[in-house]
């Protein structure tokens, strides 16, 4: 196991490997959250706690409800019923901008770079509490010039870390798909999030960039003090960076535990392969099956090559 994640794993050592398991210090607690689209139950989560300061992977087959669950938590969609607490605060009915203000920031499965803004403007947008974003103060440059400079410095620092500093004045629309993912993540960090939720951050990123992106994600808890939840289909990635794995299928949480426990879990195998398999999987088989599963559904994100 990589050294960076041991602290996270230690904290979770005593947590039982079962859906809805209570955590020592949850940053998010969800209860009875349900969302239906017509007759389809997209999300039906009884109870879920997300541990603060660790990296949690949310996995599950296509259509399991992962993105919808993100939307419900971040206020982009309203649950039919349910209740969520973030950082000790009830957040039912909160709007996305309010949640971002509390420190919950997300990225999107389909990257949302602001194409006609430059890379640096994209970054600066993320900063919170900007006086110059209010109408009247914006008219008087001296009121916000200093803050703007500070924000720009912070933005440049992050851009250097994400190796995007040479692109600072390019339109974000000219970046490659992978660079856009990097930019979106760096921009989210400008908000100084307590919880950062990444929806398939590696999808579409070329192998050369995947490694650096993974390193950035791994370091978020220690360097940024951020809790990370990410959705990912690539089991290599999940194994590499997650301290805890939550598995969703058909809207429900069907398993929880460190990644080593997941491949052996019967419910997970059934969810991915359909119910008639009985043999537990080793890691390689599991991965292969996960991969086949994607192939069958015709939705393969470009993934990194095997070494």
């Amino acid at each position: 196991m990589p050294a960076e994640t041991t602290t996270g794993a230690d904290v979770l050592a005593a947590v039982p490997h079962e859906p809805g398991a209570p955590k020592p210090d949850p940053i998010v607690v969800v209860d009875g959250m349900r969302k239906t689209f017509g007759g389809l139950v997209a999300v039906d989560v009884d109870h879920l706690e997300i541990q603060r300061g660790v990296i949690t992977a949310l996995i599950g087959p296509n259509g399991a409800g992962k993105t919808t669950f993100f939307n419900l938590l971040t206020g982009f969609d309203r649950p039919d019923t349910g209740h969520a607490v973030f950082d000790g605060k009830e957040i039912d009915g909160y709007r996305p901008y309010q949640l971002a203000g509390l420190g919950m920031v997300r990225t999107f499965q389909l990257t949302k770079s602001l194409t006609k803004l430059s890379v640096i403007e994209n970054m600066k947008l993320g900063a919170k509490g900007q006086l110059g974003e209010r109408f009247l103060p914006s008219l008087v440059t001296p009121l916000w010039r200093r803050q703007e400079r500070e924000i720009e410095e912070r933005a440049m620092e992050l851009l250097r870390r994400f190796q995007l500093d040479h692109m600072r004045d390019e339109y974000a629309g000219t970046l490659s798909g992978g660079q856009r993912k990097l930019l979106e993540m760096a921009r989210a960090l400008m908000v100084e999030p307590k919880l950062i939720m990444l929806d398939e951050p590696m999808a579409g990123v070329n192998p050369a960039l995947t490694q650096s992106l993974l390193e950035h994600v791994k370091r978020l808890p220690t360097e940024e003090g951020a809790t990370v939840v990410f959705v990912e289909h690539d089991m290599d990635v999940v194994r590499d960076i997650s301290d805890w794995v939550v598995v969703m299928a058909e809207g429900q949480i069907i398993a929880e535990g460190p990644h080593s426990s997941i491949g052996q879990n019967q419910a997970v195998i059934d969810a991915y392969l359909g119910a008639h398999h009985d043999a537990p999987l080793d890691a390689d088989q599991e991965e292969e099956w996960l991969r086949e599963d994607r192939l069958e559904l015709g939705d393969v994100p470009p993934r990194r090559e095997e070494p």
């Binding site: 971040t74 982009f76 709007r95 996305p96 901008y97 971002a100 203000g101 920031v105 997300r106 990225t107 999107f108 949302k112 770079s113 602001l114 194409t115 006609k116 803004l117 403007e121 994209n122 600066k124 947008l125 993320g126 919170k128 900007q130 006086l131 110059g132 974003e133 209010r134 109408f135 914006s138 008219l139 440059t141 916000w144 703007e148 339109y171 629309g173 000219t174 979106e184 921009r187 989210a188 400008m190 908000v191």
Partner: protein, 334 residues
């Protein structure tokens, strides 16, 4: 037969390109630029804001006998209220809802203003005229003299409104320029690019869109007030729907999302229209176009065809407008 008087045509073309209408169209297009060029709001009823601004100012004087400055504030207030009425119910919804509502609302304003039910207030189709007194008193120019230089000669009564029009346009442009280089402008542009991304980063997209709608609407209202002062009358049937499309044309001609482009667009638009109109008249009266094909009364229709064709050509060869950036246009396709 005296031949075509090119000197006269050129003179007219130049004079009209800086005339009252050019200032009014420029202002209205600046408002649209705030809406569409920066905030991405589809407003197909800008003429409604123009009308509301004009009527707000006019009614303040005719109904409540306010002074001219209070009247202008009333015009602004009317435009703000109109923006709130349009924006509050629609700006949380998809972008097309605003578009639909603005088209309808602009027509409703015109029909209300000319309705017999409101006859005592708005004077119906006859329009408002008595509001002009206080503004005439402010006019430092002699109404019966000509002012200006070279081909740009205007009668004192008009000159006052023209000066006001261009000064207001200049101030408005500076305001827009400052806003759009500030963090406020960054948020607004971000919302234009991707509203959800802005929301995820903690920006209250709804509130910013409402602010942008109000700002652009008030600028449209100012256009209406300048127009009313220059024409010394407010006629409901001036504010017809096609006017909005001329404002759009002016904006697209200049280049969307550039601070100065509405002014350039408007000047070129009016130069083009005037040139076509006068050239057409000359050709007909000189017998170069036989009256069996066209007479002078049909020129006004033909000129719009030609403007339409010119616009189509512009879209083909320079879709970003005169000032717009091709590079930015190309990003849309990605």
């Amino acid at each position: 037969m005296t031949g075509i008087d090119w000197g006269f045509i050129l003179n007219q073309t130049l004079a009209r390109s800086l005339d009252l209408n050019a200032a009014v169209y420029a202002l209205a297009a600046v408002g649209l630029n705030v809406h569409f060029g920066y905030a991405g709001l589809l407003n197909f009823g800008q003429v409604g804001f123009v009308a509301v601004g004009a009527y707000g100012m006019g009614l303040a004087i005719t109904l409540w006998q306010t002074g001219p400055f209070v009247a202008v504030l009333m015009g602004i207030g009317f435009a703000v209220v109109f923006a709130l009425l349009l924006g509050i119910p629609t700006l949380r919804l998809r972008a097309d809802y605003l578009a639909i509502v603005t088209i309808a609302a602009a027509e409703i304003v015109r029909l209300l203003a000319r309705s017999t039910a409101l006859r005592d207030v708005t004077r119906g189709a006859e329009g408002l005229n008595e509001f002009i007194g206080p503004f005439r008193e402010l006019n430092p120019f002699n109404p019966s003299l000509l002012y200006g230089i070279g081909p740009f000669q205007y009668r004192g009564s008009q000159f006052f409104a023209i000066v006001i029009g261009w000064v207001v346009t200049l101030i408005t442009l500076l305001l827009v320029w400052q806003l759009m280089r500030s963090p406020w402008g960054r948020v607004v542009k971000a919302i234009r690019e991707d509203e959800d991304a802005a929301r995820a980063l903690g920006k209250n997209a709804y509130w910013y869109k409402l602010q942008a709608l109000i700002l652009g609407g008030v600028i449209g209202g100012l256009a209406g007030m300048v127009l009313a002062i220059g024409n010394a009358t407010i006629q409901p049937d001036f504010f017809v729907a096609p006017l909005t499309f001329f404002f759009w044309l002016v904006l697209i001609l200049g280049g969307v999302g550039r601070v100065w482009s509405p002014v350039v667009g408007s000047v070129i638009f009016w130069a083009l229209i005037t040139f076509m109109r006068n050239l057409g008249r000359a050709l007909v009266t000189e017998g170069l176009i036989p009256t069996s094909i066209m007479d002078t009364s049909q020129i006004d229709q033909i000129q719009f065809w030609i403007v339409g064709i010119a616009l189509a050509l512009l879209m083909v060869f320079r879709p970003q407008g005169i000032f717009g950036s091709r590079e930015e246009m190309a990003l849309d396709a990605r």
